[in-house]
Amino acid sequence: MFRILHDTKYDFIRWWRTAAGLTIAFIVIGIGSIFVRGGFDYSVEFTGGTLMQLHFNAPPEQGKIRAALDAGGIKDEEVTTFGSPSDFTIRARSDSTSASADSASRKIEGLLVTGFGRDAFKVVRTEAVGSKVGSELARGAIIAILVSFFVTLVYLAIRFDWRFGISATIATMHDILTTVAFMKIIHLEISLTVIAALLTVIGYSLNDTIIIFDRVRENLRKNRREPLYNTLNRSVNETLPRSILTHATALAATLALLFFAGEVIRPFAWVMAFGIITGTFSSIYVASPILLWIETKYPRENTAKTSKAAKASPA
């Protein structure tokens, strides 16, 4: 039997201050740069505006595209290559709420036909969104996150104990903050796909926290006299092989997406890859220390509470 990291006795929790310092520094750098260097880049889904993906038969000069658009009065457009020198995306902000969302894409296409000729390129993707749709999407995403917090909190309070619920929720909030900081640091554009990835990270990280908490719950039942500090450390160590294996397979799938699934999915894969790391980190260094801290503030009445936890769990 080939085993890695079994029967380890690392004192993980001891390093929680260092870990907290690191993660707070990361969050401060990321979130801070939102304030210092301006907010996020949002995709056209959120801001309203137009995104066109073009495929040229021969790689054109980027400057020539800009010139063609500027000549027609398209302002503040962003022209970027997309995967290869023949593929470009063009973004233009919408400049009026009353106009139909597709007027800008038509104009851009017309200008490019004038500049390059009709057969020189093909529009492979167009997304045009009015700003109203965008703000509704943003609201929907925030509501989704808040509701998922609440649902998690209630579920864990029922299945474990309110202390576990609060710790897991705070760990999840931590993951959102670090992931958002990460997105800012690597200049990732916020799109619906990225939001979906963020929500998946929440689910994944929660999963990981629950696996460790499940072990804590079990160890608390087995050995009621042991200090919680030791129980937490023991539980993290006992679940370590599982953590390594699962994170390895999840990361393998994520890397496959990152490198092979193409340009459109790449932001999703980036967020997910970071999420696996931050989710693992937060289960050990956020959820556990907070559980410990709540325990010192609001200690369990040893017998009553643990027997309740015992009743709530199966078998």
Binding site: G73, V124, G130, Y155, R242, A252, P314
Partner: protein
């Protein structure tokens, strides 16, 4: 039958059901062939691909209230939905979706269509047809001096902008901004200095038809380069108040060239239409030797009577055929006209005549609609996404298989078999619920391949612990499954709850992603717990005296 046989039978049944759900079946479908759509039978795997994977258009339409509030929005939208659906059906698309979303939106999905402009035109065109007599009282000429005065007093400027010769420039978003006074506008200064001149800032841009030798009363011309400026004046509230009562000002649909300048006609019309498109019962595209593409229309009997009566009163007057506030043509009424007439397309090709007859037949939209959202994805990009998604999936499977076999050996092999069934079950569930597989959904599926083995990892680690504690193989396996259960259930249920929240509050692609996630969780619970346990039982059954387990 023993417990084990029941288990095997259940797994076999699941595999058969999944296979059946995914088996390619013959469906009747409208498919494109040589540019037109024909109904034919095709064989295909019943996994519905989203527009982002198969290419096509997604449109979100909403009631356009920029030109005045709409009172009964919900009813109006229901009627608009019917009109849009009729138009789309005639447009010829394989499996179109036209549905109401929320209280004030219409969603249109057109798989396989990538001519964005033509599709949005057909959907969005109000197709509000009116016949109006051109003004012959000279009312407009009389108010022009007042219009000049207002432009001067209010310091309105049209701005010297680049010409926009496109037909719908009046709807262009840039127009409104032209109202903001520009200090550097040469024209505004010129107009201010020119106060003693007889030609005011408004009138100097408008050319009377008589000057170009046209007999049509109520017809004026404006240089195409000045159209925006005039348009911005005409949208001003003060100017609108000063226009003659009972008259409306409408642009012509097409520009013309005279004296070396491109000119666009501006009509002054009686605001009361003698008849509207409601009375129309048929419209057909035609090619005429002189006029080119035309749409000939037929009016209902009642409409025909009314039309005959009205045109009889207006013999020798000019009648403007106005479609969506644009004058298509303004022929002279030679004698009373009955139930038939035609609209000339002004040199456009037959396909535009076809589209116009589609929208005229389907009827006018009861409310103006605006496009709030367009997503158009070329079929080649969609196919490319599928191809890359499959590549990523295959590589993900390979990596996971290597990790599981390398670490867990024989038990890993069982988990890999479980994983194969997991993929089969998930895809079958998606097909069974006729969920739409989107690109984020595909990414979620690939990701889930890496996460689905988690349950097996948990179980195997438990079995190892039990074995280390010196338990017999059979007991260790039993206990391992039992002890891992609470962690598996709690973690999966909480993820499923998150997915349910996503489904509830997400839109479009995110919703598809959530469905994939939920289907994946259910399939992974079945495959990694029930199926893999059964595999272990089969193995134990064959090796009753096994003392070691390769795990």
């Amino acid at each position: 039958m023993s417990n084990l046989q029941y288990r095997l039978a259940a797994i076999a049944a699941l595999i058969v059901a999944s296979g059946w759900a995914l088996f390619p079946r013959t469906v009747i479908e409208r498919i494109p062939r040589n540019g037109s759509f024909v109904t034919d039978t095709v064989k295909r795997v019943p996994l519905k691909k989203g527009l982002d994977l198969q290419g096509g258009m997604h449109l979100t339409l909403a009631v356009d209230e920029s030109k005045g509030a709409v009172s009964d929005k919900s009813t109006a939208l229901d009627r608009a939905l019917k009109v849009v659906r009729t138009r789309i059906d005639q447009f010829g698309v394989a499996e179109p979706v036209v549905q109401k979303a929320g209280a004030d939106r219409i969603i249109v999905e057109l798989p396989g269509i990538d001519d964005e402009r033509r599709a949005t035109d057909v959907v969005q065109k109000a197709a509000f047809l009116q016949f109006q007599i051109t003004d012959k009282t000279g009312a407009f000429e009389r108010v022009v001096p007042r219009l000049d005065g207002i432009v001067k007093d209010k310091k309105l400027t049209g701005g010297a902008t680049a010409p926009d010769v496109r037909g719908d420039s009046s709807k262009s978003p840039a127009i409104k901004s032209l109202f903001t006074p520009k200090s550097d506008s040469v024209k505004a200064k010129a107009a201010g200095a020119d106060s003693t001149s007889t030609t005011g800032p408004f009138s100097r841009l408008v050319i009377s038809a008589a000057a170009l030798g046209s007999q049509v009363p109520g017809l004026f011309f404006v240089a195409v380069t000045d159209q925006r400026e005039i348009d911005s004046y005409l949208q001003n509230a003060d100017i609108q108040a000063a226009l003659p009562p009972g008259k409306v000002v409408r642009w012509g649909a097409d520009s013309m060239v005279a004296n070396g300048r491109a000119l666009i006609p501006l009509y002054v019309l009686d605001s009361r239409p003698i008849i509207t498109g409601d009375a129309l019962i048929d419209a057909q595209p035609n090619l005429e030797p002189i006029d080119g593409a035309v749409v000939t229309f037929t009016l209902s009997n009642e409409g025909g009577r009314k039309f005959k009566n009205e045109t009889g009163k207006h013999v020798k007057d000019y009648m403007a055929i106005v479609l969506d506030d644009r004058v298509m043509s303004a022929p002279i009424i030679q004698s009373a006209i009955g139930t038939r007439g035609q609209i000339t397309m002004g040199g456009k090709d037959l396909s535009s005549a076809q589209d116009l007859s589609i929208v005229l037949r389907a009827g006018a939209l009861p409310v103006p609609l605006k496009v709030e959202e367009v997503r158009a994805i070329g079929a080649s990009l969609g196919a490319d996404s599928v191809q890359k998604g499959i590549t990523a999936g295959v590589i993900a499977v390979l990596l996971v298989v290597i990790i599981m076999l390398g670490y867990y050996r024989f038990a890993g092999l069982l988990a890999v078999c479980g994983l194969a069934l997991y993929m089969l079950f998930t895809l079958a569930a998606l097909a069974g619920f006729s969920a739409v597989l989107t690109l984020p959904g595909l990414a979620g599926f690939v990701l889930s391949i890496g996460i689905a083995v988690d349950a097996n990892v948990l179980i195997f680690e438990r079995i190892r612990e039990e074995m280390v504690h010196g338990k017999a193989i059979r007991t260790a396996i039993d206990e391992g499954f039992k002890h891992a259960m609470s962690a598996i259930i709690d973690s999966n249920v909480s993820t499923a709850l998150t997915a349910a929240v996503l489904y509830q509050y997400g839109t479009g692609p995110v919703k598809g992603f959530a469905v994939t996630l939920i289907a994946g969780i259910a399939a992974s619970m079945i495959s990694s717990i029930f199926v893999v346990k059964t595999f272990f039982l089969v193995w134990l059954n064959r090796n009753k005296t096994a003392e070691t387990l390769s795990i």
